[in-house]
Amino acid sequence: MSVELGHFALVLALALALVQSFAPLVGARLGHSALMRMGEPAAITVFGLTAAAFAALTFAYVQSDFSVLNVWENSHSAKPLLFKITGTWGNHEGSMLLWVLILALFGALVAAFGRNLPPTLRANVLAVQGLIATAFLLFILLTSNPFTRLVPPPIEGRDLNPILQDIGLAIHPPLLYLGYVGFSISFSFAVAALIDGRVDAAWARWVRPWTLAAWAFLTGGIAMGSYWAYYELGWGGFWFWDPVENASFLPWLSGTALLHSAIVMEKRSALKIWTVLLAILTFSLSLLGTFLVRSGVLTSVHAFATDPSRGVFILAILVFFIGGALALFALRAAALTPGGLFHPISREGALVLNNLLLTTAAATVLVGTLYPLLVEALTGEKISVGAPFFNLTFIPLFLPLLAAVPFGPLLAWKRGDLLAATQRLQVAFALSAICSLAGYLLIDRASALSAIGMALGLWLVLGAVTDLALKAGIGKVAPRMALRRLVGLPLSMFGTALAHAGLGLTVLGIVCVTTLEVERILVMRPGETVEIADYHLRFDNMGPFTGPNYTEDRAAFTLFSGGVVRGEIISSKRLYTARGMPTTEAGIRTIGLSQLYVSIGDNVSDDGLVVRVWWKPMVTLIWLGAVVMMVGGAVSLMDRRLRVGVPAPRRAATATAGKSAR
């Protein structure tokens, strides 16, 4: 019965989502407050019902109820409990339900905490959220229903794809969806502003924190996905420029741009129209990502099942929301009042530069992702646009952006002084140059590029530190005073510094691992030793092991450095019996920030084993940097102050009129 109640709750959620879409919309047009406020209980009820449906499905998974088609297709009674639960969203239907659940959660949050929003804005925002929920609930119920029953129920399920039987499935999709779907709030606010024809002062105050939260989740989701692919797929890569990865990276790029332009809008009430457009584009890219991944246009571990009707349905949703929002933008953008004025060299100007570079980078990735699909659709020819394309186009765009990051926070609002900012960054610049030069001369003289890349990463980190030090007045006032001022700095400043420093750490990690990685591929017999980057790895033996729902051949290695045992590394080849599907489990040992990565291949001859060993210097920085970025976002979110940017007073030298910008 719980299954059918879950199904009914989902259908009821659709009915409520319809009310949430239309009642506040009509109410806002008529200025009828009761109609407008109907959206709030509706949004909260939609969330409650979707949560009930999701709980019913999870319960069916936990109980191995194979009378539910979805459970039978993706579960197995021998699976550990954690993977029974996470298996709920380890498939197309369940993951779409999670998508809608998070969408409904955000709608409910607006309804619950949006009391201080102007009523028409709140009504319109809820209506747009409701429309998105309606579209996706219809999609789920009509083309991807997770509650379809199976009569008579089989006795055993077909098991979850072994690659997904990992703790990563518990973290990566929920985080990613919180990010993807979180941008729906910015989108709804943008569309609501366009419907109203005015951008309220409360608008930016709301959009910035929501965008920040979504951005932080998306950052975490992408980083977790990257780490998961790194350790699970067994070839030690952290980013493949795979279309599915790009699909999540695109909203991240434009979301980062949105985050920065929303700051300008909140603090200086400038860039209004541009921010509205970016909000629309960011969520559109999220929808595009959902379409690419869920329609089966792309084949990857993420495309669980392909069904053309689903693709067409999502495409229709895509066209409706993106087309509708952009059409509304074209009609109404002119009615929005442009905001404040600023000089090109100013904090605002720096953020505009950031936006330009980020959106161009996003456009580049978009082209690289869609071009092969277009070519295939038009000519039937399969081409692949891989890392070389992105290295040639994306990186040259991103390098100047990274180089410019430390300048931004040092420039004043409205009119800034580039020269003064440069002087203040001298120490950071010198330090990062000296460090990377020392590294080049002492550690590895092979690659000048690696030295430059490292200098860039250090520059970002030290630039962030400089920013904090300057704001605290270190060097200018007594140390104790400086410390007190540092502690008293607003949290948002720490957030900025952390996010920028985190970016620097990620850059450092990427540069180190791509330029200094060492790889050995060889055939080993028990007792043999391989030397890699100051370490010795001995292949001890190979033995069978039986897990709850798999059997594996485990290869045991002992790690030595300088003749001392540093620990054991186990790498294995698993066979999941239910699907008869093999996976490789890499053996990874973290030493400081670096990792030794051991992956085993086929047996050759009697006791020889193909072994691939990588030394990955500083590799963990890639993901630690992302965690630091997330923490930065969280710290900034905790700063609940209202923000007004303090414009620098006009001086004689800069007495020329500011430039208008939208």
Binding site: L30, A34, R37, I44, V646
Partner: protein, 385 residues
Amino acid sequence: MVFWVLAALLTFGASIAVLGPFLRTDERRAAGAEHDLTVYRDQLIELEQEVRRGMISQSDAAEARAEIGRRILRLKEGGTTEDGQPQKLSGIAVKVFALVMVLAVPVVSWGLYAFLGSPELQSAPLAARLTQDPAQASMEELIVRAERHLAANPDDVRGWETLGPIYLRLGRYQDAVAAYRRAIEFGGSTPEREAALGEALVGEKGGLVTAEAEAAFLRALAVDNASPRARFFIAVARAQEGRNEEAGAIWEEMAAGLPENSPWRGAAEQALVNLANLRREGSALSEGTKGGIPEEELAAVENMTQEERQEMIEAMVASLDTRLRENPADLKGWQRLLRSYVVLGRTNEAEKVLARAVAALGDQSQEARELVQFATGLGISEEER
């Protein structure tokens, strides 16, 4: 029934929830401009607090204050042009619309659920299904129950011996091998268990008696030299090695010596018939397929999985097909190709091959007629032309 009550309660609750705003009369309404003003006032208060806490310098605070002042001024300018009050509509129209919205909740949900749902179906959690009365359980359920019992008590020899033959009958040879191995591990070697293990091994390899299987049969015969199962498969092994006389001798002995009701007697008789057929058609077969495969390949076949073997057979058939396209004047070749397709169960292709062969050999030729006759024997008739 409980389901319908709960569903009705949910629907009722949801409808009441959205009706809520109409039940409360709360008519405070503020125009957008007023809200903006509130935000700016909040910002001013915030600013003063920061000044008091010393988080912002006096000069910066003055600038910020001026900035907020500018925004308020801008708002006042804009505010005059804006029509503050939105148009009002008659109360009745609004009430009708609200009613439609509230009614949509039960109508849409019950309507769509009637179309999509299966309210009559109960949940079927696995644990509950496995504890229900065995008399009502399906074969599959019983097997899973036994498997769970044996996973917990792997030393239950009787359990393994019960499950083994079921697996064999269902064609789950891999599981059968495991079951008999466990039975031997915990219950010791007996001729019955060894012979059954051998049969399971043969099944696993798609009918091929491997060295491992043969060893099992020999272990069975060492204790009980009359074991019909072991004898039968030893004969199969001999036939596979091409030692048809020895195989035939064993089967003949079984067919003559075993009691009337023994299933192995029938099996042996059937094997003899097959052997005789094989001999009759033998010339064609031995010349082509047997002679065509070199020793190493035959050895490789033994180590293949069923899919791999299937693939290899298909490849051989395909190569024969191509050869006949290039060199069609080969009656024996056509016959072999036809038989291959029939054995593979691809009668459609066999029919096409027949048509092709007849055309290639000459419509009215003696050879074509012979081939058609041969095909009819295989159950393949000439395609309608």
